[in-house]
Each structure stands twice: as structure tokens, then as C-alpha cells.
Assembly symmetry: C2
Homo-oligomer: 535 residues x 2
């Protein structure tokens, strides 16, 4: 592959002239604050950004790629750039950023066939508001990251959410892809002229290429169909707590996932994770010391009535189906948990009312700390995006998040390590034990959530959250991330997703990487699209 | 791409010598009856077969491919070659057949995580018997084609079955693939050395290449993990009939598929299809004339108590879940059908007993004709492969099938045309109307089954069934197939699968086919693997 070095040299300068002509000078930024911001993630990155391009539509994207090829200047596409914890907008290697935020049209929608076709700039908020404006009976699936996240971007990174559509990549089809050459293709059945099933079925006729364009640098997805789910008659959230029995819980839930009694992602967070999601680091309780020790955590957990592990999920269906699932879940968890609660919207309103008297009596509002998470979490369970989990990126900051949080520019430190493991008790225990031990050893709280993302595997998302403005923390965090990832890989638990500074951990499989390189060479002979990304 | 011509020339002869050395002379056949049989499908094909190779294992496959590259002789892989109606063992273009039947090991199995890893020579029967021998509580999904079909082969051709795992390609992962070069890769998470989630999760880290190896000529899948389902507490088959209301039925069933009230494929067959599945063409009633006219069909339908359209499917779950699904289905179909029946094993036994007195009273056994299909159909609904639908390939033969049916060598004519359409009433009606009109116009019975294969689309499988030994029928059938496919394509209904003589219908999408050619060139520069297949 051609390795292209970006610089402030003549190639970049000439390319910038052409890009300005192609998409308008107002949409090509070389302002130092813009390029510096675009290169800034929630952890140290080394690649520099030569400029930021803001194409308006697919044709602009094609022009930008053709110019990039002509001048040998690599482009790094981002959707909305909210890939926090995995790299935000920062490229893997030096590049010009292609910001697809202006490609924000919802181009097709069908209530009866339950799908929407959209561009990469469409945010979760926008899709949600669109469905509201249509008085649609359909739900989207939302991630907890931010309402301003791109639906397409999250899907291509294989993000996951909370409803039966939670494994995003498993519920999309019919991509429009601009290839590195600037040519455009439609995938699946979408390529048949006048075809009526492009947005409805995945495989198409002949080889299926959709998979090539997620977690890759083979093309830019400028349009995607996302399947939606009809709002069920009834949905009921479940919450449970356990002191030590995570392994038992996973063993109990796996059969329910396999039989479809539970059709959506179940999330099980440790005490640290719940605490960090619900507010700031307890600076006063710890007299400013970090990390939060297991002993202090245990004390706080007890005070706040958190479990060592805290599970949540949702049951969907008719009233009868939800009732049946509830009893199956109750039976499966019997004896393995300390508390099991079912909550729907009505019950939540009751709890909200109950909180005020509680505070009056106890003189403290700590109960509300965890309770505050309930409405947004219940919202996520029916596809309502929320900002309420974003503050967790500010966990280790000395002050609470500002009114308009921006983890990148606010110096929030965040690195996700997200190993995949078999959905069995022993494997889950091994992963979380490794996660907790290594995080604490490096001076970080182990903020861990175990998600039963599909029928047979868990993804444990281990967040290394810190304050980048504290001297030395960046290096410590990276060292922690690397030890974690390497240790987990060595034990057989590969990451489902990688950050822009850690692509080497995806290199495995002998001849396999040669194949990836051959495919890349075939589609991008000049190597101008996102060099280094997942390769 | 290099176009390779196979012949009896020196290249083939030299390659044969090398293959004999590599895998043993006993496993290389050039006997004229073998090569002629391998080139014979259930419709006219033109490609010739130079020899048939029978490698024993993956290493043999690698050797065979390396030799093919050296001598420029193309290889065409088949699993067990039961791809009836789409080409059987016959290659798209002249080639040497690589018969993978000896790669028939079940290499991994896990009861708790519900999967099995197997080679392409493993048949449905073998997998079923394996699960029995393990006293497994897991079910496979079976197609109605034949117990001797390859599980891997059917999956790679995107076949479908009857259980919630019915969309086969959607429930597999972790391929071992021998590339045209002879190199071997593992896909998904399987490529991580010591990785523990290879058989459990689909996407892996980085681009997902699995889709490239179904319906393609990019590589030979020598191993695949197939997910299984835990046997549910309860399953109940449903059957319904309607006179004219196919469109209404599809409208009624779509919401049940979308909400998951029905989690498996529903099949709706027309009267012709049911009749052809249950026995020979009514030669005596028609005084030997073909095709069976709509009027005669209507009379027979009435006598045999068939519906104009006859639906079937199955509900799975706990007793409570199945009860709930039954009532949802009953409510959805209310007023749209003439008959709705729920049948489980107990009820079937009762019906079997009832048949004998019925025959005694009426003096005829026609009721048993449709009833005979029930046990095998109920078996398919719990993953039990069956031979009982194979005789339908002999529908137009003058005699019933022989004891050991072999549609290829018995001169059965069979061509499947299988368009995909949105799961709506109007689209389904349009497809079946086109199918019935064109089939009858060409002198064939329209044998049509509409399958709600996923939440948003139907596949209509239109069988053109005839006797190849009747002069002129081959040409008529091909002409019928072509008009059908072209007409349906023009109306926006592309085929989900193509036969070896009809690959041109998959060529669509402008630059898309260039991409397929680039990928092919990257993986198979000498074009020695299955030239012409889905390209």
C-alpha cells in the first residue's frame, strides 16, 4: 500500500485549493483551533489533522475523494465525531478530516415496513424527533452515549443499545457507499434498478459486501437503512442486584437469551460503574485521594443501597408476553440476587413522588443519586436518546460538568476497553476480575458494565475515566489500557472495537491480515481513505 | 480476469497427474459416467466437467487449489451437490468438480452455548443424528430438500427452513475459508489465536468478511459454526386456508413477524403446490393433458379440501408464550381465512387414527394425500430433516419416484424462480399473479410457496416442475424461467438465489459489478475458482 505522509507541504496546499473549488471555501477549514480540536480525543493521540472538510452531500464526498486521490492526501471520514473513548474525531494517522455532519437527511421512511433510510450526519436526537413528528408507532434503538451521536456512525462501529434491536449492525441493510476511488455503489438488493426490497432484506443476490464497510477503511457509507421496531403493547424494565454472584446471574440469563424469553441486551454494572454514572467522584469522602478503594466503595455501596453488581434490562411484548417473561426471569434469578424490581412508567412516577419525603426524613439526597438515572435509563429502553450519561465522563474532574459538556475540549480522560467473552459464569468472572485488578493497580476505578449483547456472548465495557489535566494521568491511563487489552487478548477475550491509537490489537490471524490488505489494495490503491484504521 | 478454458488438453492431463499424487488416485475420477453425472442437473446446462476430485480434508483442498493455479484449470466446489433446481453439481462454466463430501466431520459442539462447528460434507441427516446421539436438548433448522443436503452448502446458498433459526445465513459465524490461492483464513473472532468467542459472535474486530463467501466464488468454506436453538418447552404448528385472500393474510402476518409474536418462517402454498407435494400429477383426471387447468385444479382442490392458499408455521416457547401467540394469530387472521388449525404431536396421532374410518366410509383415500404431509412437516418445524418432499420433483413423471430417488439421473425437470418482495399484500399478490400467469402460459403448473422469511420480505419460490424425458420440455421450461425472472426483475422483485445457467440476472448496479470483479481479482488472480458463479 502507498503510505502517504500529510504535511503542510505543496500537495496539501494544492488539494485544499481544489477542495475549496469543489465544495466551497466556507466548508474547508484550516483554522488552527478547528484542526487542533479535531485532533483532540479523550486520551493521547499522535496523528495531526491537516484540515477539516464539510461536504454537503454524496456528490461532494465523491469530489473530495477524487481530489484526495489526485494529490495523495489521505481523508479520514467522521459522521458526527462523537466516538468518545475510542478516538472522537481524531484520525488513526495524519489526515484531512472529512466531516459528514452536513449529510443529515432522512431520505426514506416506511411506517408499515418499519424502516428509515438516513445519512451519516443524522443524529439520534434527529431520528427520535423525526419519528415523533411522524406520530410514528415505531421505536429506534438508542445508545446512551449522546443524543448528538450519529446513528450511522455508531452502527458502523458496531455500537449497541437496549431494545431487541440493540445489536445495531444486525438490523441495517442497503448501504450507499462511496468508494475510495469516488465511485458510488449500493449494496444488497439496493443495487437492482427499481428494486423494491433494497431497504428490507440484507443479503442481496451474490456475495454480501455490507460487512466490509463496518469497522474498516474500505469506503464511506453515505446512506443506510435502519430497521425499526413497532412499539410493543407493553414494556417493563427489570432491575436486580447481587452481592457476589455475577457468574450465577450470567448462567441464569443465558438460557433466557437463547430461548428468546429475553430479547434485548441485559446490562450488569458493578458498583463503581453505577456510582460514576450518577455523579462526581466522592472527593470529600476520600480526602481527594484516588483511586476509590474497594473498602470505601463497599461503604458507599452500602449507604447508597447499590449492589456489588446491578443488572437492568427490559421485557417487551403484549401484556401476556411480558407477564410470562417476568415470571421466567423471576424464576431464573431466584436465590441468586438480593433484589429484583420491575418498573414501568407508572411505577416510576410513584417512585419520583416517594423521593421527596425520603429526603425530608433522612436529610440527604443520596437515594436520588441512583434514582436520577432511572428516567433516562427507562427512556433508552424505548429508544429515547439521553444526555444524562455523558456527565460520567467528568467523574474524575474536580468540578461537575459544564452546562454544555464537551469531553474532548474539557480534558476528560476516557478509554474504553471492551472484551468479548462467552456468556458463561466462569468467563465473565475472569474478565471482570482481570478488569478490576488491573484498573485498580494502575490507579483507576474499575468502571465495568457487562452486557449480554447477543445470545452467546457478553461484552464487558471497562471504562478508564480520568482527568487529562492532571499531570501524568494520560500516560498512566494508556499504560492501564494496554495492559488490560493485552492481558485479555492473551486469555482469549478479543476487543469488539478498538480506539484509534490501538489498532495493532486487531492484527491477528496470519494470512487473514494479508487478505484485508489485498481487499484494501483492490478498493483503495492509493491508500487515501483512513489509513491505518482497522488494518 | 483470466478466462480459463478447460479441455481434455495437456493442462488438464498434467493437473490430473498432480492431483492424483496429492490426494490419491482413488479420489480423482475421470470416468465418463462420473463426469457426465456431475454435469447433469434438473434443467439444461452447458458446462462440461473435466473430472471429479474427492479431497479428504482441508489440507487436500489447499493442495487441489494450488495445483489448479499452477495449471490454470478451474475448480468448482460442491458440498454434497444436492442443489436441485439451482444446478445440482453442475458448474457454471467448464471446470473440474471439487466434491467436499469427504470433509464430513463435526469438529466442535457445545450444548450450553448452543452451537456446532462442521465441515461442508456434513449432511442434515448426520447433524440430526449427531444431536440425537448426544441426547442434546438443542434443535437444528432443517430445509425440506433432503436429509442428504449439506448444512454448510445450503447456508452458503442462503437457504431457509422452518424454525426461528430459519434464515440460515443469519445464524452462522466463524468460517474457515480456503482461498483460491490455497491459503487458509479464519473469519470473525476465530482468527484470534486462543480466542474463546470464535463460534459465538459474528462480526469480529475490523471489517467482517463472512458475507463475501456466501453465493460467491471467492473462497471455499471448509468449516463453519452453526448456531442451534434450545428445544422449547412447547411448540404448536398452525395451519390455515384461504380462498382468495392471500394479500390480507400477508398484511395480517407482517405485524406478527415484526413484533416477534411469530418468530419463524411462515409458508403459504397455493393449491397447485400442495397437490404437487403430496403425489403425482393427476394423469387420469386430465386424460394425460398438461398443464393442469385452473378449472380442474379448483375441482380437485374442493374434493381434497385444500385451500386456494394454504398456510403453515409454528409457534415456539413456554406454554404461556405459545398460548399467547396462538391467540394473537387467531385474532390477526380472524375473518381472513376459511380454516385455522393448531396441531401438536398429540393431535396428529389422533388425526392419524381418524383417517382409517374416514377411508372406510368414503371409499377413498384422498384425505390422506394431504394428511400424509403432516408428520414430515411437523418434523421440519422441530428441525427433523425429511425425504418426504423429494417426490414432488417427480410430479410430472409418468411413474411415481423409484425407491432411491435421484432427480438428476432420473430426468426430473426442476427450476426454482425465487423472487423477493416486500411483505405487503399488494406486492405479494403481484408476484404470485405474475408467477401463476406466466407458468400456465408456458404449459406448467404454477407451484408457488410464499415464505415470510424475515420481518419485512417474502420469498416466493416458484417451481417449474416437468419431465426432462419429454421432448421439448427442457426448452419450454427454460423459456418460462427466463420470462418469469425477467418480468419479476423488471417489476422490482429480484431473485434471492440463482441457478448455474442464469447468473446474468444477478448482474446489476453499475459500478457494483466492477467492485465484485476487483475483489475477485484480489482473491483469485488466476480466476480458477468457480468462474462465472455469481459474477
Amino acid at each position: 500500500m502507498v503510505s502517504v505522509e500529510i504535511s503542510s507541504g505543496p500537495a496539501l496546499s494544492a488539494a485544499l485549493d481544489e477542495w475549496r473549488k469543489a465544495i466551497g471555501g466556507a466548508h474547508v477549514s484550516t483554522a488552527s483551533e478547528d484542526v487542533r480540536a479535531a485532533a483532540t480525543a479523550t486520551f493521547p493521540t499522535t496523528a495531526t489533522v491537516g484540515a477539516v472538510l464539510h461536504p454537503a452531500n454524496r456528490e461532494d464526498v465523491q469530489l473530495c475523494l477524487r481530489i484526495a486521490n489526485r494529490f495523495g492526501v489521505p481523508l479520514y471520514p467522521i459522521s458526527t465525531g462523537k466516538n468518545w473513548g475510542y478516538g472522537s474525531r481524531a484520525p488513526v494517522r495524519d489526515a484531512v478530516i472529512l466531516d459528514l455532519g452536513r449529510l443529515n437527511r432522512i431520505v426514506d421512511f416506511d411506517e408499515n415496513l418499519a424502516y428509515v433510510t438516513l445519512e451519516p450526519g443524522v443524529t439520534q436526537r434527529q431520528l427520535y424527533q423525526f419519528l415523533e413528528s411522524q406520530h410514528s408507532r415505531l421505536w429506534m434503538d438508542a445508545t446512551g452515549a449522546s443524543p448528538d451521536c450519529s446513528v450511522v456512525g455508531n452502527t458502523l462501529e458496531r455500537g449497541f443499545g437496549h431494545t431487541p434491536m440493540g445489536d445495531h449492525c444486525n438490523h441495517v441493510c442497503g448501504f450507499e457507499v462511496v468508494l475510495p476511488s469516488g465511485e458510488c455503489i449500493n449494496t444488497g438488493f439496493s443495487r437492482f434498478p427499481g428494486g423494491k426490497v433494497g431497504p428490507l432484506s440484507r443479503w442481496g443476490t451474490g456475495p454480501s459486501v455490507d460487512g466490509l464497510f463496518s469497522q474498516s477503511n474500505f469506503g464511506i457509507v453515505t446512506r443506510m437503512t435502519v430497521w425499526l421496531m413497532p412499539a410493543p403493547d407493553k414494556h417493563t424494565a427489570y432491575f436486580f442486584q447481587t452481592e457476589g454472584g455475577l457468574a450465577d446471574i450470567v448462567e441464569a440469563l443465558r438460557p433466557l437469551r437463547l430461548t428468546g424469553a429475553i430479547r434485548s441486551v441485559a446490562h450488569i454494572a458493578n458498583d463503581y460503574k453505577v456510582l460514576s454514572s450518577s455523579g462526581q467522584y466522592p472527593w470529600s469522602e476520600t480526602a481527594g485521594r484516588t483511586p476509590l478503594s474497594r473498602e470505601t466503595m463497599a461503604r458507599l455501596r452500602h449507604e447508597l443501597r447499590l449492589g456489588r453488581w446491578n443488572g437492568s434490562g427490559c421485557l417487551y411484548g403484549t401484556r401476556g408476553q411480558v407477564r410470562e417473561s417476568r415470571s421466567l426471569l423471576r424464576r431464573a434469578l431466584d436465590g441468586k440476587i438480593t433484589r429484583l424490581q420491575f418498573i414501568d412508567e407508572g411505577k416510576l412516577n410513584f417512585l419520583r413522588m416517594a423521593e421527596a419525603p425520603y429526603r425530608l426524613i433522612t436529610g440527604r439526597s443520596d437515594l436520588s443519586r441512583a434514582l436520577r438515572l432511572l428516567p433516562p435509563l427507562l427512556g433508552l429502553m424505548r429508544g429515547v436518546p439521553t444526555e444524562d450519561f455523558l456527565p460520567s465522563a467528568y467523574w474524575r474532574k474536580p468540578q461537575p460538568p459544564p452546562a454544555k459538556p464537551d469531553p474532548d475540549s474539557d480534558g476528560c480522560g476516557l478509554l474504553w476497553c471492551s472484551p468479548v467473552a462467552p456468556s458463561t459464569g466462569p468467563h465473565t468472572s475472569e474478565v471482570v476480575d482481570i478488569g478490576e485488578d488491573i484498573a485498580l493497580k494502575h490507579g483507576f476505578e474499575p468502571l465495568i458494565s457487562v452486557s449480554l449483547v447477543n445470545e452467546r456472548t457478553t461484552v464487558s465495557t471497562i471504562a478508564i475515566t480520568y482527568d487529562r489535566r492532571v499531570q501524568g494521568e494520560d500516560a498512566k491511563a494508556v499504560s492501564c489500557y494496554r495492559e488490560l487489552t493485552e492481558h485479555l487478548l492473551a486469555r482469549g477475550y478479543p476487543p469488539y472495537r478498538l480506539n484509534v491509537s490501538a489498532m495493532e490489537y486487531g492484527r491477528a490471524g496470519g494470512h487473514y491480515m494479508d487478505v484485508i490488505r489485498s481487499l484494501k489494495q483492490a478498493l483503495d490503491p492509493n491508500g487515501i481513505l483512513a489509513p491505518g484504521r482497522y488494518e
